[in-house]
Structure formats: C-alpha cells, structure tokens
Amino acid sequence: MSISLTLVLQLIVNGLVVGGLLGLVALGLALIFGVIRVVNFAHGEFITLGAYLTWLIAGGLGLSPFIGIPVAFLFGALVGWVVQVLFIGRVMERPPLDSLMMTYSLSILGLGLFSFFFGGDFRSYSAGPNGDLRLAGVTVGLRSLSVLIVCVALGALVIMLLRSGRLGLAFRALAQNRDAAASCGINIRATERLAFSLAVGLAAVAGALISLIGTTTPGVGDDWLLEGFVVVVIGGMGSIPGALAGALLIGLLQSILGYALDDSWAKIITYLLLYLTLLTRPQGLLGSAMEM
C-alpha cells in the first residue's frame, strides 16, 4: 500500500462528503437536545423520509434529484412540526423516560411504515448529475461534489441563523434556561416546535443527499443516526461547534479506516470511540452547554 499525496487528498475529499452529511444530522440532534432536552431516537426515520421522497421524485417522476432537496426540507419541517405538536410536546413535562420511549417508539413505527410501503429493496436512480471531476489526480464524483456543496452551504446558513437573528437568540435562550427565557417573553412552545421542525428538515435534506450518493433502504437513516450519535457524544451533547467538529473527525476517520481496513471495521472502531469518550470525557470534547 503506497501512500501518495493524491491518495491522501482523495481520502480527505471522501471524508469531507461523509463529514458534511454527518454534520447536517448532528446539527439537528444537537439542536433538539439543546432546545428541547430530548434525545431524538426517531431522527433516522426523518433521514429515511428525505431519501425516499427524493427517490420518488428522481426515480419515480424522473425529475432532477435537486428538486428533492427543498421538497425534503419543507416536507420534513412540516412532519417535524406535527410530530412535536402531537407526540413529543405532550410528554415533555413528564419524566425523561417518557420522552425517550416516545422518540424510540416513533422510530419503530417509522421503520415499520417504510418497510411496509417500500419493501427491503435497495433503491437508487440515474437522474441527476453523473460522471466525475478530475482535479490534480483526485477523482470526485459530481454527485459527491454536489452533496458537499449543499452540506456546506446549508450548514453555514443554519449557523448564521443561530448566531444572529431573533430565532437563534430564542433557541440559545431556551438552551440556557427555560424559565428565564419564558419570563423574558419567549414563546417556549413555538420555539420548541420551530427547533424540532428545523432539525427534522435538516435530517430530511441529509436523507435526500444520501439517496444521491448511495442506496435507499428502510434502515438507511438508522445507520447514519448511529454515527450521528457518536458525533454528538464526542462533540458534547447539545454543543453545535462540537457536533460540527465531531462530524468532520468521524467523516475523515471513516474514510481512512474504510480504505485501510473495510467499512465494517470502520464502523466497529467508530462505535468503540463512543465508549472511549464515555469513559474518559463523558461531557464530550467541547463541553456540554449549548454554545453557538
């Protein structure tokens, strides 16, 4: 195995694509955990939702899969709003066990629905960009490149929204202190619904992008969710900079280990990192408060 510069560059590019997708997933998880104090075990189902939506648009209707991205975001945000109103918002005042069981039950329900409607087949489509871009010996598929661009652009947009603007301020206020936020006149319920809705929209976009570079199955979202959990635990639950740094780290690690060993070993080692973090630095690499 000769390690050349082009190989290193190639692995970095591949890692950035995975890291970008994990970043969108982890951003949503951190937002939900920070603002609503719920670990969303159903997040994977929202990824799968975006992936199937885009598959229906690109594979079924033959349209460009890029149409799937805004459609997935809007539909995901709508579904997220409804789920927060109907299910999660109703158990939030109860002990934390109830909200945990609620998101987990929703994930079983969602997985069941996807398996029932779409079967276990591997879905992919040929619409959209095909072919490669070669630059300095590094080959990047046009699909991977578009994924990376969308992830970076969307991620930057969301972080700008969180850093400035009234909504970002409301999110941060809730993450810091709910009671104080409420007494300042922030509408807690609406803010929580918006946070969940935005996070689910991001997950659905991640799903739309995943359908572009991979295959879609009922369990595709859950695979990504596991890695998303590793990312948020390593980054510190609820920390947005931590989530982004963790996503980059895990993306690169997956790319390098996947090349040096194989994908299963890459997963095994990634998952073991979670135990290592819990043992040595349970608050994550970048603290536990919600910082933005």
């Binding site: 109703r90 987990y104 329900l109 069941g112 029932f116 635990v233 349970p282």
Partner: protein, 322 residues
Amino acid sequence: MALTRLNPAMLAATLVVGGLAAALPLMGASRYQLVLVYYFAYYLALGQAWNLMSGMTGYVSFAHGALAGIGAYATVMAMNAGVPMWLSIPIGAAVAGVSSLVIGATSLRLRGIAFTFATLFFQALALLIVRKLPAAGGAGGLPLQDILPVWLPQLFMILLAVLSTILVMVVRASRTGTRLLAIKGDEAAALSLGIASARLKLLFFCISAVLAGLAGAFHGLFTASLYPDVVFSFDMSITALAVPLIGGVATAFGPAAGAILFVGVGELLDIFAPGLHNVVIGALLVAVVLFMPLGLVPFTVGRMRDRRKDARSPAASGEYAR
C-alpha cells in the same frame, strides 16, 4: 421498609400457571399450542430481564436482545465444542453477564442517557463483530450439532419465565427494590440518602443480563440454528422493552400481559397483515406512552379502583398518575 408486600396468592398463582404450562405436553396439547406457550414464556423471560434493570431503575437498555444473542452463541459454541449441555448453559449465561459489565463499567457511573447510548452501540457492535468472527460461523450462521428433544428447551424456558417473574416480585417487595425505585424517581436524592446507586445499577444490570443470556441460551437450543442477522436484529431488543412497557413497567404481572398481547398480535398479524408488525408495535407503544404511561395492567387496576371509589363517594375519585 418495602413499598409493597410479597403477595402469597400471587406467588402461588404464578407457580400454578407455570406448572400447568410445563405439564401441557402431558395433557395432549397440540404442537401449535406448545409453540405459542413457548413464545409466551420466551417473551416473558426476556421482558422480565429488562424489567428488573430498566423497569426498576429507569435506565433504558436497548441491548437485551443482543445479550440474549450472546448467551445463545456462547451456549451453542460450547456445546458444539463438546461441552455437556448442563455446563454450556451456565457458560452462556456467564458470558452474557460479563458482557453486561463492559456496558455497565463504561456508562453506569454516569447519570442520564449515557447508559442507553452504550447499550444501543453494544447491540450494533455485537452484530458487526459476530459477523466478523469465523469461530462463530461468521455471516453464514451457526447450527447446533446436537439434536435435542423439543420439550427440553420449552421446559427450560417456562422455568425461566416463572423464576424471573418471582424474582421481580421478590425484588419489588424488598428494601433493595425500594432503593432501585428511588434511583428511578430521583437519583440525586437517592444518593444523598446513602443509596449506592452506581453499584446497585451495575449489580442489577448484570443479573438482568444473566437472565437475558439464559433466555437466549434456551432459545438457541430451541431453534438449533443461529443466524447473526436474526439473533442480533433490533427486533428482539424491541420485544424485550415493549413487553414490560406495554403491560406495566416495574410490575411483576404487567410483562405477562404484555407477553400475551405480543404473542396474540404476532399471530393475528401473521394471518391478516404480515409486514405490519413494527407498525402495530410502534403504534401500540406510542399510544401506551401517551395515554397510559404506567402500562396496561396498572392502568386497568387503577380504573377499577376508581370505579369502586366512585360508588362510595364521587368526590374520592383520584387521578392515577405515576
């Protein structure tokens, strides 16, 4: 002082039902009926194993299916290596118990969600690693070489279901059970009262894993062939938590109701709507969490008590919250 007393009538009822179930083959029950009873016992044993840890302490485990799978693999591998069955089964249970310490040692010192994450990843890791292990048959699976009479694992499983139900009953009626429930209620307060919560959680997770390992070992003997994708699928871990959650968490008889429901729903769905299993279980769980968070049995008992109170004085009807 314990919160509840051990009810001798309930204890006797459990033993009688268990004895009847064990005697079914002698009473000329059909093979189909025996299989239904077997699965009832399997779900009940697994559900009680989960109940003993997660139900009592509130620390949710997503790994009980994997712990059972490890018990199954260890037992079948030992038997295939020529170890007699009476020794292989304790080996399987012990391996499951030791595996639980790996999860527990890394995460039970912490409060909150860390334990649940550790179990979630344990489940995923178990599948990935067993698929990589040639000694465990890899991705292709592992057959049991001995041929056992079917009644033997059935009898074992019924014994385990009875034993684990009685264990939950005894723990609930003990001071230790009160301590566990105190951890669930408010761990900081429990600690301040001198309850050694980390040690108790670890101990009960280990006992719970040994029970799950035994259930897995007996199920391995029953099916006589192990496929990693089946043994380590998330479905068994879902079953382990759904059975007590639907029936009644931290109660001795809730899981029995949950297991009956599970077997019944499974059979009906096989006839009318195969493929909808997870949809129905997921919807049931959502409904239970929303409308009767204590589970079916305590909810029904509470309703009946309410009605009796209503008959005496309408004002006395209270709300049965947790």
